[in-house]
Amino acid sequence: MTTLLQTLSNQARNMAARSPWIYRINAGSCNGCDVECATTALIPRYDVERLGCQYCGSPRHADIVLITGPLTARVKDAVMRVYAEVPEPKVTVAVGVCPISGGIFRDGYAVHAPIDQHLPVDVNIPGCPPRPQAIIEGIAQAIAIWRERL
């Protein structure tokens, strides 16, 4: 009986399409990357929902986290708390050069970039800001990583 249940649950696991939900954290971004993220998700021209993704309003529902901005000193605490609320397995994507290295704010006194010193980042999307197609490319890579982790 248990083996049958296990087989069924395994089969269901394989059959499920598993749509990752996306959550966006603004870690002190200038809003450029946020606009591109919103464009990627909301405008039919780019339509990230073809990949099964959907933006969600709560970190507790998220599978993929997009982080923009250089992690300013002011916002660091809030970002760490929100990030901790995202359930495992999660995939973190750094959008734009700011979270990756600090970009134009690199070595600034008020930023804690690079962000991978504070939380594990899986995919980088360089650009200032990256174009929507590049963000889709990064999300596609993130989905591949996420499926491996399940």
């Binding site: 995919v123 200032c128 590049a134 890579q141 990583i145």
Partner: protein, 166 residues
Amino acid sequence: MNYVRTLIRNLIRGPSTEVYPFGPAWTPVHFRGRVEFKLSSCTACRACEQVCAPGAIRFDKTPEGLRFMLWHNTCVFCGLCEYYCPTDAIHQTDDWHMAHATAHQYEMAIRELISYVSCTACGAKALASAPNPAGVVPPFTAEEIEIQRNLCPGCRKTALAERGVK
């Protein structure tokens, strides 16, 4: 009856969604993407390092020569380096496929070495950099550039004076 026109237009044109990532994406001709560096044209003037706002371009002095380094993960793709380069050694391509796994982030750099040579005229240590051909009349030939490349700045000046530069 406007909706009929819209309906017919939509039927003919199809959906407005771009095919990417299931097909190629349209890229503007002058898109400022990944940077390309041509070592053979670089005069080592370091103008690009001077104008690079996020400090993505760096020149380091090493015992072997001058090392050029550009990290795409800091670059903001503003295009100033290309604008100020006197010899077009640096230019931006329209390649925007730069999303990568974090494990490969330090491979997103250009690392080139402008090596030291001993000057063919006086034997002093000099950088094997290209001469700046801007405003030289008549322009340098390929052989002349190769000869100039192996001269120290002093001997280069003398050679230019003997050649007659307007």
